[in-house]
Symmetry: C2
């Protein structure tokens, strides 16, 4: 598996991943009925941000986007988001994408990385981020309507470099 910069030829596979993740509505506070055009606008980052994919033998297993979390006086802190294809979970794809994003952010001189909304029910992601050094700074209770568990909290997670 290789993590590399996204290119336009990856779009069909990336859109399949995004579509599955947003329809499931269990991890991202995105519109489940998001169109392909909206997904492209949300996920494909222009500089100074970057979109990446984890690929193996031409197959896209997961995707990440990264960039400044805020503008102006907040632009020195980065953020990133990760999605893994349903059939590729449990193989370290998220871990590889997270490592890539952290290397990218450190290499570009960011002061830290912030995740604004990690569903507390997504324990795989929470633990993965904690293994990379992220801390939960706060949790907004009942702010994410999970399709089967009801309203769960969204964690604000942060790693200062």
């Amino acid at each position: 598996m290789q993590v590399r910069e996204y290119d336009d030829g990856d779009w069909t596979q990336v859109w399949t991943i995004i579509h599955d993740v947003v329809r499931e509505a269990a991890t991202f506070p995105f519109d489940p009925d998001m169109t392909e055009q909206q997904a492209r606008a949300v996920w494909i980052e222009a500089p100074p941000g970057l979109t990446a994919v984890a690929a193996e033998d031409g197959q896209v297993l997961g995707t990440a986007k990264m960039g400044p979390n805020r503008s102006g006086p907040g632009a020195h802190v980065s953020t990133a988001s990760f999605m893994v294809a349903a059939g590729a979970r449990g193989r370290g794809v998220g871990d590889a994408l997270c490592r890539f994003a952290l290397d990218w952010a450190r290499g570009h001189g960011y002061a830290g990385m912030q995740f604004n909304a990690v569903a507390e029910s997504n324990t795989t992601a929470v633990r993965l981020y904690q293994r990379h050094g992220f801390e939960i700074l706060g949790t907004v209770p009942r702010s994410f309507a999970h399709p089967t568990r009801g309203r769960v909290g969204l964690h604000l997670m942060y790693l200062e470099f």
Copy 2:
């Protein structure tokens, strides 16, 4: 002073307020060089959101925007932002705008209101929100580059209805 829905005739005065606030770069993580067109895109909300102004004798003293904080499974929590004209501070404009936004959000059935990035140096705003019942759920240290105080924290504040 009356707080009411924004209309297009307010734009020139609203833009003056936004321009002053972003150039000062002491409270909002917005690009200080934001253009008028960018400001309009950021500040003027389409439904389900709303933009409002506090006005007196045809003069706009402050402005607020409000709407869902996130999409899909996060759309039941609201957010809002407030800006007060430099010449109108200390007159309760922010308080009136905050009350308006809270009434609006409660009236539209939101479960709470979240402020994602309140500069901890902006003690006037922090105290105002606390008076309205908001709590600081977490603070991202050194994530806001204040023009004179250096890097200060950004509070995540929340009020559950």
